[in-house]
């Protein structure tokens, strides 16, 4: 709305002239002395701002200062000089990674592809599992039986990534020809079921690039499906029993009840969780990959963060490594913001 003269000025009827309204004088004053006003407000309420200081500093030192180090991806790596004093290299690292044509560039694209595929398969197979589990939990009428099932499925969530990957490593470990030992128990079981060949089992599943994605996804489902089902189960038990009864009286069978009663009730939860998942797609946990992969499986296992770890921390090409991760993280950020915008538009639910 446009301002009108009457908002700022008052007509003095007696003299026929305009003068400024007192409110406008105050507004002018505040505008003129804005920072003074800010200073006074802060001083009056200083305790509140002191409370904010630790948070600001922690994030400044250990979240924002690293971003300053990203300058290194535009500069010539130098072990001695600080990042501010290094010479500019422009976009040469980015160019080398994207269109370099050498092994480094091939490895980078492989890592990008693996990052995308691991999260995409995670979405495809990992996302529906907790919803299915929640639907199944809902079928169990006895509270005790259900609690037992739930606690059993939460069990793997109690492990840290290190313990989980150690257990996985042991369960699918290779057989030793010299010692005559047998492969891990899960490999044995899969081989005797005919799902994998004896040779593959003996060579160790984690040494075979063809199995890495499957191991990653299955261990992911094993670890999180039970725990992730909590939120969907909460949405399902919130459905009033009268809804089912009404549907039954109308002659709905189980499928129809699922379609017309359960699905609409949990849809908003599903959408929110799905958007969160899509938003965090490219930020897959590098710890788990790092702990499970080895040079034999780089073809399918190497993701951008592990690529950066290998070249930047284990190797010394810090510029290349941070350039690679920066590209990955920018795409990830765009995904988060995009997903959040869509969520807000579609359902008035904003995640942050």
């Amino acid at each position: 709305m446009k301002g009108q003269a009457g908002d700022f000025l008052i007509l003095d009827k007696a003299t026929g002239t305009y003068r400024e309204s007192p409110e406008q004088l105050v507004r002018d004053d505040v505008e003129k002395h804005y920072w003074l006003h800010v200073g006074r407000t802060i001083l009056k309420d200083w305790r509140l701002y002191v409370m904010l200081v630790p948070t600001i500093l922690v994030f400044l030192f250990w979240r924002y200062l690293p971003m300053y180090e990203l300058l290194g991806s535009f500069k010539v790596s130098d072990q001695v000089k600080s990042v501010a004093d290094q010479y500019f290299a422009g976009f040469s690292y980015f160019k080398r990674l994207l269109v370099g044509g050498d092994t480094l560039s091939t490895e980078f694209w492989r890592a990008m592809r693996n990052t995308f595929l691991l999260s995409f398969y995670g979405l495809l197979f990992g996302f529906p599992m907790p919803i299915l589990l929640a639907l199944f939990f809902n079928e169990i009428r006895s509270n005790i039986a259900r609690s037992v099932y739930q606690v059993l499925t939460y069990l793997p969530k109690f492990m840290s990534t290190v313990v989980m990957t150690s257990l996985v490593t042991m369960l699918v470990k290779q057989a030793s020809a010299t010692m005559g030992t047998q492969p891990g128990i899960v490999s044995q079981a899969l081989a005797s079921l005919g799902l994998i060949s004896q040779d593959a089992a003996r060579a160790g599943l984690l040494n075979n690039p063809n199995f890495f994605r499957a191991i990653y996804q299955i261990s992911g489902i094993w670890e999180t499906a039970g725990y992730d089902s909590i939120v969907f189960f909460a949405a399902i038990i919130a459905i009033s029993p009268t809804s089912y009864e009404a549907a039954q009286i109308d002659g709905a069978n189980k499928m129809a009840q699922m379609r017309y009663v359960v699905l609409p009730s949990i849809l908003s939860t599903v959408v929110i969780m799905l958007i969160t998942r899509i938003g965090s797609m490219l930020s897959i946990g590098y710890e788990k990959v790092l702990l499970l992969y080895n040079p034999n499986t780089y073809v399918t296992a190497d993701v951008v963060s592990t690529f950066a770890q290998r070249y930047g921390l284990a190797g010394s090409q810090k510029g290349i490594a941070s350039a690679a991760e920066m590209m990955n993280n920018i795409i990830g950020m765009l995904l988060v913001i995009g997903a959040n915008t869509i969520a807000r538009k579609a359902s008035n639910v904003s995640l942050y």
Binding site: F59, L167, M179, G226, A308
Partner: protein, 296 residues
């Protein structure tokens, strides 16, 4: 009146029970196997003779670990990191969340964005590593040579947890706050006597989140803690795994129990304490997933 189950409902029930049972057993089996394998004799473990129950029971693998000082040292380091890390992070987060929950805070939106941006974009491993190295130098120069303090202070803060606390504090009715102010409470008293008691369950949940991430922390602890005696349990387990699955090491192994048994025993020992305290924290564990930062 009890309605008879329709045929479609019956089928779905049967499917549910079957698949749930299969999945639950899949979840449970690796743990049972780990327990059995850690207690079985060398031959049984190495030749895959254990299916479910231990064979040729021995407890040497466990006693080897219990007599290992480095194991207990790692455990106490993890406790140190978990306790101090949680206290530090929770303290910072409560103060920050409280300030951000106040509508009268100037530049509130900007401060919020300052936090949320770190959830969208992270600098990545290499810049963080350089940053932690620089921090380590600063800490050393002021006389803090124990790298555990670096892990406690510099790592593990999460914007999401501050936002959870902020949302909880926003939910406290302003009338109660005003009543406290009328009674002469200072800002810190309002926080400690009104807001913290009224948001206990969220604070417990957030504390649990911090504690879990500290307990599980591996990568940065391994990168930044140079002294082996300061390593937490996760790093200890990983180093043992790398050592004990090395063919050269296993070839020279001449104990009556397998190298695998030692690893399994470690796995068991790291899970058991969590299983013991789980019933007490279950409430907050389950609450966590629902407490996401959804706002209007």
């Amino acid at each position: 009146m009890k309605r008879k189950l329709e045929i479609s409902e019956l089928i779905f029930k049967i499917i549910s029970y079957t698949l749930l049972t299969v999945f639950a057993l899949c979840c449970l089996y690796p743990f049972l196997y780990a327990v059995s394998a850690s207690m079985s004799g060398r031959h049984a473990v190495e030749y895959g003779e254990i299916i479910l129950f231990p064979k040729a029971v021995q407890f040497d693998a466990f006693s080897r670990m219990f007599n290992d000082n480095t194991f207990w040292n790692a455990y106490s380091n993890t406790l140190f990191l978990t306790v101090y890390g949680t206290i530090w992070a929770l303290g910072v987060a409560i103060l920050g969340g409280y300030a951000l929950s106040k509508k009268r805070l100037l530049f509130r939106k900007a401060f919020n964005f300052y936090l949320v941006f770190t959830m969208w974009f992270s600098a990545g491993i290499v810049p963080q590593y350089l940053n932690y190295l620089a921090t380590k130098d600063v800490f050393n120069s002021v006389g803090i040579t124990d790298d555990k303090w670096l892990v406690v202070i510099a790592m593990g803060m999460a914007a999401m947890n501050i936002i959870l606390l902020r949302n909880a504090f926003e939910g406290v009715p302003s009338e109660i706050e005003e009543a406290a102010i009328v009674d002469g409470a200072s800002e810190f008293q309002v926080l400690s006597k009104v807001f913290i008691p009224m948001s206990k369950s969220t604070i417990a949940t957030v504390a649990l989140f911090f504690a879990i991430s500290r307990w599980n922390g591996y990568f940065w602890a391994r990168q930044m803690i140079s002294n082996q005696n300061e390593h937490p349990l996760q790093v200890f387990i990983r180093l043992r795994l790398e050592e004990f699955t090395d063919p050269e090491f296993t070839a020279g192994w001449n104990f009556p129990y397998a190298t695998d048994s030692v690893i399994y025993a470690l796995v068991v020992c790291s899970i058991v304490p969590i299983l013991i305290i789980y019933p007490f924290i279950q409430k907050y564990f389950a609450k966590g997933t629902n407490a996401g930062g959804v706002k209007e």
